[in-house]
Amino acid sequence: MILDSKIPEGPLSQKWTSYKAAQKLVNPANKRKLDIIVVGTGLAGASAAASLGALGFNVDIFCIQDSPRRAHSIAAQGGINAAKNYQNDGDSVERLFRDTIKGGDYRAREANVYRLAEVSGNIIDQCVAQGVPFARDYSGLLDNRSFGGAQVSRTFYARGQTGQQLLLGAYGALSREIARGTVKLHERCEMMELVVVDGRARGIIARNLVTGELERYAAHAVVLATGGYGNVYYLSTNAMNSNGSAAWICHRHGAAFANPCYVQIHPTCIPVHGDYQSKLTLMSESLRNDGRIWVPKKKEDAEAIRAGRLNPRDIAEADRDYYLERRYPAFGNLVPRDVASRAAKERCDAGYGVGPTGLAVFLDFASAIERLGRDTISQRYGNLFQMYQKIVDVDPYENPMMIYPAVHYTMGGLWVDYELQTTIPGLFAAGEANFSDHGANRLGASALMQGLADGYFVLPYTLQNCLADQIYVGKIKAEGPEFDEAEQAVRNRLDSLLSISGNAEGQTYSVDHYHKALGKVMWEYCGMARSKESLATAASEVARLEADFYQHVYIPGKATEMNPELEKAYRLADYFELARLIVADATQREESCGGHFRIEHQTEDGETLRDDENFMFVAAWEYQGHDVPEVMHREELNYEHIKIVKRNYK
């Protein structure tokens, strides 16, 4: 496997400009003759399909929900970054680029990140033109807030529902193209197989989730925008239907999977409270603008709070440990997510945690409410406070919130080159589904930026460059041995899953039973802190669970009907393979960087310790078969522009 990142020549700031100047284009009459499949309708998928449709391509777009507007981008709360420098506080494209590279702990590709920073301003212009109601100040100008890992205010927001508003903007643009007939929408339709003809991605097999029927779609190119794989941990902030299967299917066909061990654990989530729990709810990072994070200084106070004998309000200021402000005076509560998460875990592990389980810290708004008034806080975070109250049944205006880290985002994903093309020609990956821009840790408010950058401003260019020669191919038909085989492979897979319970000996278990068990193993042994031993345990436990799953899972119903249990089962089957790869990647990466923390590799004060000499590379894995260990390829990261330093937020 050859990893050619195709980074254009020339100085960093000119690469994208020169790429666009030299790239191939497709003339308007020919665009109509080219078909593109887009899988996923989140920010990346919807914006890509809308832009490609507007250019004149024929687009088929697929979503597993009943409407494109349900994609999980909708749940992003805090905001979207852009180097507009509207606040005159020293922001610039260069600054956003540097913050992102540093935030990612020097494990992202310079050229991709610079392009991301470069187009960030266009995204805001585009969204405002679509009618996204961003927050404004009294002059009528756009307002900004700060997010972790930055010392400027560059985050644009729409109350606590920025993702919703951006997605509805993209959904509006998509709806317009659907009405114009350039885009065809397939809702409740899940990609089950990639069809590769003569080494090129030529179509997909999709399952109609209402009838269970399999459908064939052919195209000149396939764009995957199916999000991340955080649900491998079962409990995460992802939606219930978010899954890694589409990306994994492509991986099986030869698309390299990069940096799977880079998983982001978000510091501010509502803590776990019971075994029946189905998901974790995020409390936006924006809360750290005004909320202060603390635990008691004395262990006996922490114990008393856990036992319910002491109210946190009664703990004197001097007896509180604002540990982020103490450890990181320069960034304080706004350190990047991986740093804040580990610091919370460190305090809880040391016995200072609060809440019934001892696995929680306080996020306190008392001083902000005193300083700004309840109304201001309510305007900024009202919906988040309401959500917290509904779930926990505690009023956060009166009592400090309790939070704990949870799995949130996956920086790893399908390996892509500068054009967002995977190692399978004709197959592209955008948004969270690819690995490209966030290195080992993503900064807050950058996921929305990347999803929309890929969809609005990158793919419409790079796809044309890659499709220019496809005008000679003619219409691709959904027939031939490759389509037959792909469809048969799906049938076989579904039948074999459904047959397990018939042949099972002894007790059978539900799909969720196995998913919860897998999640616990991954969280415990391959979560916030990893070691050689814990990873070995994870590997053997995952293998044991997987073997048991194939013997004792019970899936009711048929493949030819609406069957959510079957959907969960085939997604979980892929998660088992993916979990093995995450563990393998975490094991080979003998260093700590960003979200990947190996306890063997840390500084004296518990910070990540990178090994730039040996690990400054992207690990791109090649699938070898169900029972065969994958082969790792390296893409060396060359930093020509930025000076590599130790990441320091003190």
């Binding site: 009528g140 919703q164 939606a239 049944d393 539900s510 609406m562």
Partner: protein, 252 residues
């Protein structure tokens, strides 16, 4: 906590449905309504009693608009300002009987059990519920000044999650609150003005065509909206509609 559940079961769109009764025990008051149904399904699977109950859900944090159950005669149940996924069992009494139905509205046909087809909402949006801003070639974001109170009002309307509770709550199955919210969001912003008349005309025509009823001002929609979208949006929709009869470019 312990509950008796009466759940609407219907195998597919054409099958005849009926209520089935299930008992469930050991439910934590902190558990959400959908997590309670998860536990019921787990039991139905493990004891091989019946096919698990199908219900739509996704984000489980009240924003995607995918979930929506008619619980004891109210869309999204007995707590105000929440979706079904954010309704917690602490709002019920131990031993309660709970009746669970899908949305009942002609434009939202049942697909299976509690799952309904809401593509009608997408079709209304496709009729014109957007601003036509082709990617690229738009002015700088700060070149469009919008008074804060206008932006805030637009945001109030834009918070609609498209769950369909307004339609389910309405005796006429009217979608006026849904359509009014989108029309208001865009009409309140200067960017939305050029297409305003055409937009409202096309959206209302599509709404009628799809079989949604008219508004008779009972405001059940507002009372049941999980995002508390205001009925003033319906008034604005009506004003925009009347304006569109004169202000629209009829050649289009």
């Amino acid at each position: 906590m312990k509950f008796t559940l009466h759940i609407w079961r219907q195998e597919n769109a054409t099958a005849k449905g009926s209520f089935q009764t299930y008992e469930i025990d050991n439910i934590s008051p902190d558990c959400s309504f959908l997590e309670m149904l998860d536990q019921l399904n787990e039991k139905l699977v493990n004891d091989r009693i019946a096919h698990p109950v199908c219900f739509d859900n996704d984000c489980r944090e009240g924003i995607c608009g995918m979930c929506g159950l008619y619980i004891n005669g109210r869309p999204h149940g007995n707590d105000d300002g929440v979706t079904t996924c954010q309704l917690h069992m602490r709002h019920f009494n131990d031993g309660d009987e709970i009746w669970i139905e899908p949305w009942r509205a002609k434009p939202f046909p049942v697909i299976r059990d509690l799952v309904v087809n809401r593509t009608a909402f997408d079709k209304i949006i496709q009729a014109g519920g957007y601003i036509s801003a082709t990617t690229g070639g738009v002015p700088d974001a700060n070149s469009i000044l919008i008074p804060k109170h206008k932006a805030d009002q637009a945001m109030d309307a834009a918070e609609c999650i498209g769950c369909g509770a307004c339609v389910a709550a309405c005796k006429n199955a009217s979608a006026m609150l849904f359509v009014g919210a989108k029309v208001s969001h865009l009409a309140l912003l200067p960017q939305g003005k050029p297409e305003a008349a055409d937009r409202v005309y096309k959206m209302v025509c599509k709404m009628d065509e799809l079989g949604f009823g008219a508004c008779t001002n009972t405001y059940a929609c507002e009372a049941e909206c999980p995002k508390q979208i205001k009925r003033q949006n319906i008034a604005r929709l009506n004003r925009q509609w009347i304006g569109s009869l004169f202000g629209r470019d009829r050649k289009k």
